[in-house]
Assembly symmetry: C2
Homo-oligomer: 364 residues x 2
């Protein structure tokens, strides 16, 4: 088979460190498994601003579009906080999402048995938690026009953003959610504020229509986003798949991630439309941020990035077996008591980024 | 002194039951305290739709504007779910907020010592929790134009809402937050998505400006709304006062409320601009909804409504002593082991709405 084309964008903060561990696993696969990767690397975020003058160079954007999968570390940090809106590190990530048309963001919130105690919630509330949040990623208020800040005649200023969704934008992301639910608990909860926003009314209607047309084997319910924020705290295990828009998805997926208490463990995938071979444009990244406070100190948890790579193997390369290997290696290392600082608990052995990566490699 | 003018709008579901208990306390105050109330009642929400054909009649709107304070129960229920957007029960509440210009929504998230165990979070994470969320309530995407659903030439539909904030809208609600912080922990966290939304950039700038001009004695920090959703779960006690826009406030305040595990205990106040006597237009309501599943069964917890009335005494009528009396009566009844079903715990005595109301009255 032809080599698989990977683009690695380590980004800022702890990004380079955790992606270093991913590179080790890629090397191992090249040697030991029936697959080889062509790996390119590039800059994104603050690193790209510093070296190339913009948060995502056109050349990098082109490489991303041509790769089979993009693996991203994290972007942002205080160094670039004061930059004007259009030049911030985040724009690099948003450009990737938009130009690759990665409209479906898959964010699992999963509690590992070995880490139940890491949660601030009571163990019985989160043990076995396994939610998949499907967040719309290329539409809504993130990209809607008109937008901006304008001066008013009376000396005031006015800030404007536009939430906008079309039928097709809603249907294609809902389809991803329904298809995922079919392979899981067969339940989808769709979240909006249809009691307050017309865009939410349309969202609800279109999700319901698609369900009635093509996914009647999946149980669909609708929930206001504010209620969802409550229900995630009250009884998160009531959820299987949640589908929601870009902004609500941003907030609800972060809330759900934190329920697990182990952000450093959570991967994500951002997918586009299938091409004629059924393959989707794809970007994989950990849910955690660039964590500038611990960057460069060999303290970061590489597991979220490794599991993001496992997601790439599963979703982009159809290598479920290899993905399983990595996930099992992680489980065994955790069961063996190794912990990076972020998931440390009494009695466990605290290890560095590199040591954690090596331990997982050894299990492989 | 002239009689205080109260308008009671019981609304739907459990609204009438819980407001019935508030009426008892008002009667007691009329007899025993140095204050008398003129109480009018009116319909709002589904009850108003059924009886008067719209979720808030003009006559009721006028009464609300002329009252010193409005006490609201709750609105909404499955009976009215299929009504078109403009006729839903919620529109009654939104009209009250908008026409009374109640731009500052105060939503405390408070954990009562007796109810620490009601939370799904570990006791050490929430014990002593006392957050005040100040939510902007008359602007943003709830009211911005253009809005609606339009047909596209290709047969698709498009849903649109507009997030819009002006300098003054931001400053006046931030001022309420800073003033509250002065009487509390002197810390304000302002939440937006300034990394993604220009309206968030303006929000951040104006809150910072107002702080630097007039509230330097309060510590101000800025946090992205998604991070706030995480931090509320990770370590809620890091917050004192949170100020945020209408939509983020809707979600974050519900999340924060649920951290306490006892939604049935939480009051809220919605305040407008001070008039020449320093008095603000005001509406007080429990945080919980209309709970149609338990309506009419004498099961609901009246405490959130009673504490909302206590907030009215404190903020509108300057009767801090009377507010204290009610709050202390609630504390004592809880300490005595009485619980409505929603906050029931092993070993406590389960009581009905009416019994809980009477027990609190007896403590008074
Ligand atoms: C970095 C930022 C632009 C981004 C977002 O808001 O989408 C992040 O919070 C995320 O969830 O991936
Ligand atoms: C009922 C609904 C319109 C309302 C809102 O979204 O503001 C409610 O959720 C609230 O928070 O008071």
């Amino acid at each position: 088979a032809a080599n698989k084309k990977l683009l690695i964008l380590p980004g800022d903060g702890i990004g380079p460190e955790v992606m270093g561990q991913v590179q080790q696993v890629i090397n191992w696969m090249d040697k030991r498994r029936a697959v080889t990767f062509d790996v390119e690397t590039g800059l994104v975020g603050g690193a790209a601003i510093d070296a190339e003058g913009s948060p995502l160079a056109d050349a990098t954007m082109e490489k991303a579009s041509n790769a089979d999968a993009v693996l991203l570390g994290a972007v942002g940090g205080p160094k670039w906080d004061e930059l004007p809106f259009e030049q911030k590190p985040e724009r690099g990530l948003l450009r990737l999402r938009k130009e690759m048309e990665l409209y479906a963001n898959l964010r699992p919130a999963l509690v590992f048995d070995a880490l139940v105690e890491a949660s601030t919630l009571k163990p019985e509330v989160v043990k076995g938690l396994d939610i998949m949040i499907v967040r719309e990623l290329t539409g809504g208020i993130y990209f809607g026009e008109p937008r901006g800040i304008e001066d008013l005649p009376d000396g005031q200023r006015r800030g404007i953003n536009t939430q906008v969704y079309t039928t097709n934008e809603i249907r294609r992301v809902a389809a991803v959610a329904f298809e995922l639910a079919r392979k899981r608990g067969k339940r989808v909860t769709s979240c909006e504020k249809a009691n307050v926003m017309e865009s939410g009314v349309l969202w609800r209607q279109e999700v319901q229509k698609l369900h009635d047309e093509s996914f009647q084997d999946v149980a669909l319910s609708h929930m206001y986003a504010d209620n969802a924020a409550m229900q995630l705290v009250r009884n998160p295990k009531q959820f299987d798949v949640i589908v929601t828009d870009n902004l609500f998805g941003d907030i609800l997926s972060d809330e759900a991630a934190m329920l697990t208490g182990s952000l450093g463990m959570l991967p994500s995938a951002s997918l586009g439309d299938p091409d004629k071979h059924g393959r989707r444009q794809a970007l994989y990244e950990p849910v955690h941020g660039s964590a500038p406070d611990i960057a460069g100190q060999d303290l970061a948890n590489p597991i979220a990035s490794l599991l993001s790579f496992a997601m790439a193997l599963r979703y982009t390369f159809d290598l479920a077996e290899d993905a399983d290997l990595i996930e099992q290696a992680v489980q065994r290392v955790l069961a063996g008591g190794l912990r990076t600082a972020d998931i440390m608990s009494p009695g466990a052995a605290k290890v560095s980024t590199v040591t954690m990566g090596q331990a997982i490699l050894r299990q492989l």
